[in-house]
Amino acid sequence: MTSAIDVSLGEVAASLVLIAVAIAVSRWRRAELESDITVAVVRSMLQLFAIGYVIQAIFDQESLWLVALLIVVMVVFGAYTARARATAVPGAFVPLLIALALAAAATIGLVLALGIFEPEPQYLVPVGGMVIGNAMTAAAVALNRLGDDVRESARQIEATLALGATGSQAVDPFVRRSVRSGMIALVDSTKTTGLIFFPGTMVGMLLAGADPTDAVRLQLVLLWVLLGSVSISALTATGLAHRNFFTDAHQLKETPSQ
């Protein structure tokens, strides 16, 4: 496969100058992020090179089974990563796994069914990665908020349970706020897209020499697909995970302190 844009390893290395700036800023302002920045640089390099070779192999094989396998791996790894952000939610892994799987299956299935993309690795791999990445962030943010809210509002939740509410009824206002938290970042960035920032796909296409109107059309499709996927992901994760705060007798598992 030929590439419309050619970036040499030397040019990649040259961009490390900006990393030196970031480390210098961190050290100067005592942000204590120097080691995190270094880890981020090394991890991003290793992970992207690794996935680059994997994607190259999948493109060479032209196997949809390999694409499906890659998407499954991304879903599992995404759920595992998001769980670390949702430590206040009991048993968060399974809801996250189902949320990411559903978001990926629904959005990828829909774009294929509508004929927006061809069922080819060239489209499915990058779109799948974007969908799962954004769905993971949305689910993690939503569950993180839900866990914090339930802990802080345990007295109010138990007071509602004491009136004969189900666990789901008692926690409903907090679930709604959590779904909103999971979606709001992408909704806001979609509102301002083209005005105060250019999204990644469009930038990539423009750098690769594509026609700007083609870049805009593809970017719009992806943004709207991502909005759908984050809504499915946040809704599913909170809708399943909120039950884990309660016993079968609609009792809060963690007793509120008086």
Partner: protein, 219 residues
Amino acid sequence: MLFELDAATLDRGDTRVLDGLEFELPEGASCLVGPSGSGKSTTLRLLNRLADPDQGRVIYRGHDVRERDPRELRREVCLVPQLPALIDGTVAANIEFAASFGELEPDVPEVLRLSGLDPTFAGREATRLSVGEQQRVMLARALALQPQVLLLDEPTSALDEEARDAVEAALGDLRKRLDISTVVVTHDPAQARRLADWVVRIGEGRAIAQGVVAEVLPG
């Protein structure tokens, strides 16, 4: 008998909160009295299944509470917590919120009057009221479910003397006007004497004494 506790034991982490607790509460006005940390609030939560004991049983009118749907039980045996925990919105919205769980149409002015509040409170923002007023809105919310038993956890602990007297007067009035049993948790023996006919004294998760108030807490 309204409630019987049969060797109820409950641990929280490594701490034994209730230690083979046994007592009886007849219909009418009862108090659970004891110092902070004695397990009386935890005991109250067992009575409408906001918690279950690790061992032992809670019997309500002759039946183990575990035989009941916990939501139905909580509408019949309604608990008012120690501190107000109202939802955003007006007082009327809070009362309607509570009544919705029993699929009831609440008589908002009537439950406000029964709770010692003027019906004009209905349109006021609930969370902007004083703590004493909020506590009475909590009581009004519970009454909107037309319960047969009211469980009140230290209902006046956060109130000044005047607000405390108003809540106690509302409870006394309530008992005269409705056929309802009350179980009040308090650390104050004097309040138990004012509010109850039957008293259980609790210490370190056990019942130390129980009986009519004049015998258990002579004035």
